[in-house]
Symmetry: C2
Subunit: 433 residues, 2 copies
């Protein structure tokens, strides 16, 4: 493996502008080649990338150790250092994930619609790659491989920008990926990593690199997503918050409600699909509220409630107005009693983030209304909110979850990294005057 | 019919901000109701709107006459006055178009995908309305009814902003539409027209009205589209240029090439799907170039060509570099000889606008490569570029043609005015740890 070409930070902003414009141009040129790559070639490339990641184990772990040492020296939190650290097992997991993406069906070239016209024209709507995808992430170096592989599978070029903390690890991983692309006869520039830590590089990507970026995917905390959403001049696939609700309807089975609620809140508390608010219907509060709240408390979850919830247990603290709009990402839940389905939907529409919301009920009509009227990317009936995940949806992998309304919504898998074109097949047809 | 409430221009920018914020809020509230409206109710509303447009003939034509008189007094071009002018026949056409949109299948609620998971979850991807659509148009008053009806059919709320010239006509049409909505039990605010001519209203819409606009559709000339694309902070469905090509491949049938070329260029010269450049392959130039160029000239089309094209006929003038990137929207075409399929594709990718491009050939392999490699919203084989139209695609109607890559591409019909959500049906499933 050649020496890593880790450029030092740039001397001035002209250099940065030139650097980023060049990355954009090369990405656009690579995207044109990638769009025409046969499925088999892309899959060979992904398998080769997995092999290169394994073969580059020593370099990647060495660079990662330098990232980790620098993060420790900088006094970063233990949580960040955990996210940052790679070991042999995690690296094998990264390589295996790339192979798994290679084994997915090719999303490019699918016929999405076929229209036969009375004049004999056959019009096909066919899936084609989106183009150039900019991915901006923070401390998890595995995003380099995951995101790069997903973009590649869908025939796109990727421009990856790692956080300062994971920069060396990400560069080492991206280099193995470019080598794998080249070995399969595909353009090495289909996966490029921004080689500088200069924060202005993010601004350049958000401005679209002179039309050379088609969409931006931020992967990281709220601060990053907020900056990207407010500054980007190109479309963004993202979610800012995951304020997910579990609504226990008056006709909910208590055991099911308890099981689904505990899973929605406590399976993992730090993911975007974790429940943050429990709504219990007045109609079943007498029988269901105390067992549900007690189960949460006993599982180690702090509960902030309205007066009725506080009355259940002395361990419940009072919820403030802000609690209904807070994503705790921790073992904390807000809880209240609502007076019927309409009140539940109204609470969710007023306070939620259009991510994932669940109803627990044995009443099919109430479930149908909830699924229709709650305007979230994912609505579930008698199922945990933690199913909000591309893998759980059968997409094989996801680049993130989007709460926007355009193009992609919910888990963003390889299909959502494509767009379409129309192919019109004729035999000399002209349009009548 | 009540008196028209035509507000005069506003005293100051605070008034405008308040006015526009209120329009946004009412649109968002109306969109929530519209999203749940049954197909039948929407269709009743569209039929009622058509009736109201006919019943309001006198008011609409009177307001239109005032617009026309003002445009004439302001010295506007005859072309603009033609676009602006309504008469009984045109108004009947507008009403009939609304009825036709009502008769289309409902795009909301379609099951786009169904995924059965091994754990028993059934996950549906279901079409839902986009939300609030802002439509900014210029002098054609019929856009009020067309665009409003398409948004309504897809369960959206529309905020319509007419050009200064068509303002009175548009307000009269929009009022008839709001009355039709209300008569069918739907929110009158689902179709709102901006009641002021103040140009700052456009800026407010492009800024997204505090999150109350989901997408902007500009309908008008290049200046409008350019401003919208550069200023909008929300997604835009539009095309800036329609620089469409007809490439006559070496194995093209001459008669078919001539027929399709003449139709692509001359059927109507002012529409975005009209051809602007002819590419003739070197391999058939000796036999095909002169007849094709002569046919264009004889049909009244000015031809600007390279040396080979100029050699055909003294009437051909020299093409400049700028000609290859010019949308004439007139009886003018640029023409050149290209050396093979790759050169043709390269010319189109370098100079085109990703709108609609055609290949004429009897060679299936060349056609397949052209359809795959030309990165345009619509690519046709042996068919006129003027088929670039939602009606011709069987969509019933279109709100415009998009050359962006996100969400909608090509003709934007009612289906493209929807997005989707995921409905997850379970029986108590939880996600394994």
């Amino acid at each position: 493996m050649p020496a890593l070409n880790l450029k030092s930070d740039l001397a001035n902003s002209d250099d940065l502008t030139t650097l980023m414009a060049g990355i954009g141009r090369r990405a656009r040129a690579a995207a044109r080649q990638m769009a025409l790559a046969p499925a088999q070639t892309k899959d060979v490339a992904l398998r080769t990338i997995a092999e290169r990641l394994r073969a580059s184990r020593e370099v990647i772990l060495r660079e990662n150790a330098r990232d980790v040492a620098a993060a420790k020296a900088a006094g970063q939190t233990q949580a960040l250092i955990d996210r940052l650290t790679l070991d042999e097992k995690r690296l094998e997991g990264i390589a295996a994930a790339v192979e798994k993406i290679g084994a997915l069906p090719d999303p490019v070239g699918r016929q999405l619609a076929a229209i036969e016209r009375p004049n004999g024209l056959l019009i096909e709507r066919v899936a084609v790659p989106l183009g150039v995808i900019g991915v901006i992430f923070e401390s998890r170096p595995n995003v380099t491989a995951d995101a790069g592989a997903l973009c590649l599978k869908a025939g796109n070029a990727a421009i990856l920008r790692a956080g300062s903390d994971s920069h060396r690890s990400a560069v080492a991983i991206a280099q193995a990926m470019s080598e794998g692309l080249a070995a399969a006869g595909l353009p090495a520039d289909a996966i490029q990593i921004v080689p500088t830590r200069d924060r202005a590089a993010v601004g350049a990507m958000l401005a679209g690199l002179n039309g050379c970026v088609d969409v931006i995917v931020p992967r990281g905390g709220r601060g990053l997503v907020e900056r990207v959403q407010s500054e980007a001049r190109v479309p963004v696939f993202a979610h800012l918050d995951g304020i997910c609700h579990v609504y226990v309807h008056g006709q909910a089975d208590l055991d099911m409600a308890r099981t689904v609620l505990l899973n929605s809140k406590m399976r993992r508390t730090g993911i975007c699909g974790a429940a943050e608010t429990l709504l219990v219907d007045q109609a079943c509060a007498e029988t269901h509220l105390a067992p549900l709240v007690t189960a949460l408390l006993d599982a180690g979850c702090a509960v902030r409630g309205d007066a009725a919830v506080q009355a259940v247990d002395a361990r419940v603290s009072a919820a403030s107005e802000a609690d209904w709009r807070t994503e705790y990402l921790d073992a904390v839940i807000s809880a209240r009693v609502v007076d019927g389905l309409d009140a539940a939907i109204d609470h969710i529409e007023t306070n939620g983030s259009h991510h994932t919301d669940a109803i627990i009920t044995a009443n099919a009509e109430a479930a149908a209304r909830f699924l229709a009227e709650v305007d979230s990317a994912i609505v579930t009936h008698n199922a945990s909110t933690q199913f909000a995940d591309g893998g759980e949806f059968g997409f094989g992998a996801e680049i993130g979850i989007a709460t926007g309304r355009m193009h992609a919504r919910g888990p963003v898998g390889v299909e959502q990294l494509t767009t379409f074109k129309y192919r019109v097949h004729g035999n000399g047809q002209t349009r009548p005057v």
